[in-house]
Amino acid sequence: MRPDPFATSAGAYVLGALSPEERHAFEQHLHGCAECRSEVHRLAGLPGLLSRVALRDVLADEPPAPPDTLLPGLLKRVRRARRVQRTVLISGSLALAACVLAVLAVLLVVPGRGSGGSGPPSPTVRAAAFAMTKVRPGPVDATARVSDTPGGSQIDLNCVYHDAVPGGWTNEPAYTLTVRDRYGTTHRVATWRIADGETSLTSGLTVSSDDISMIQLRDAHGTVLLRLRWPPPSPSARHS
């Protein structure tokens, strides 16, 4: 096929830069060339956008870089905002035993009261609680409830342990509750050690319930034991 002599004329045409003769020739050509017509159509809106900008702005030098203080200031504000917003979020080191005890005092809204035996979790979480699905065999079952709060959402979790150590806290490391948001980021919401029989905890997070895609309960190694897709797939998954 013969190359189109007007193949790159559409740009100069829409800018009005062709000479009167060239312009006339190109317009004649447009009648018979669908490709050039669609090219003109594609570029036709650009002069309008260019007209919004003054020549001096186009010729202006590259703008200066932001000051060095910008990023440190931002990160400081991020840390401050997070401290204020997360009331229950625990991400502290488990090495600090004293710290962990303080944490448990906050997390255990309802202290362990189960028998330590098997069976479904007792309905400590009353409304719209969903049973979490077992991903791999483990000694824990849980239900979760998600509700909205002004700053994000709140998760009420109720765990029942089938092999709880009699007499209270184990020395084993903690379970962790994580939330994956729909942008793929995983947030650690809470960490705790297993209690005798049952744990109920309430955690606030800055992710809104609309943005939650998955709630996961992990063991000490970070392996997911239970999960709940959010929003739950069907009403039948509802645990009453």
Binding site: T8, S9, A10, G11, A12, V14, L15, G16, A17, L18, S19, E22, R42, L43, G45, L46, P47, G48, L49, L50, R52, V53, L55, D57, V58, L59, E62, P63, P64, A65, P66, P67, T69, L70, L71, G73, L74, L75, R77, V78, R79, A81, R82, D181, Y183, T185, T186, H187, T206, V207, D211
Partner: protein, 168 residues
């Protein structure tokens, strides 16, 4: 390690430079105010991760719009005080969404992303109103080169603007 700090760092790396340039201009060169406005805009994006979902709306346009509103609010607050009654914001009207002032700035940003050759032909053939023949003389390249550069310059400009969410 720390997802949220990393998110902010990423936001900063991607947008701070462009946002800074825009806001410095909006504030008439008041660097102290500009820094506050840029920080506040990025913090708002960080608090609303949904903004960053580029499939819904390009984050850059959102950030520019937010920054512009903050500056305008600042101007309004100032001009309600007696000592600076004369201080008037350059333009007050803010529509929902990406308003025209923000779009103009996005066009400037898009033009900056073009190669020097591409920008030069647009300056010649559009802003200076020169014909292809005149531009060819001034740039010392053949007329055919001016035509094809103009053509490809507009094509890339269109792509860049589409990515930024600017519609004609």
């Amino acid at each position: 390690m720390d997802d949220e700090v990393e998110l902010m760092r990423a936001l900063h790396d991607e947008h701070a430079h462009a946002l800074w340039a825009y806001v410095v201009r909006l504030t008439g060169g008041d660097h102290q105010l500009a820094e506050e406005v840029v920080q506040e805009s990025l913090l708002r994006a960080w608090r609303n991760p949904r903004v960053l979902d580029q499939s819904v709306r390009p984050a850059r346009a959102w950030l520019f719009t937010v920054a512009r509103r903050i500056v305008i609010d600042h101007w309004r607050a100032r001009s309600s005080r007696p000592e600076s009654v004369s201080a008037e914001p350059p333009e007050i009207a803010v529509a929902d969404g990406t308003d025209e002032a923000v779009q103009s700035w996005l066009v400037i940003e898009a033009l900056r992303k073009l190669s020097l050759e591409h920008r030069a032909v647009l300056v010649e053939c559009y802003y200076l109103g020169n014909s292809v023949a005149e531009a060819a003389r001034r740039l010392q390249v053949p007329e055919g080169t001016v035509k094809s550069r103009t053509h490809y310059a507009l094509r890339s400009l269109r792509l860049i603007l589409e990515e930024m969410g600017v519609s004609e």
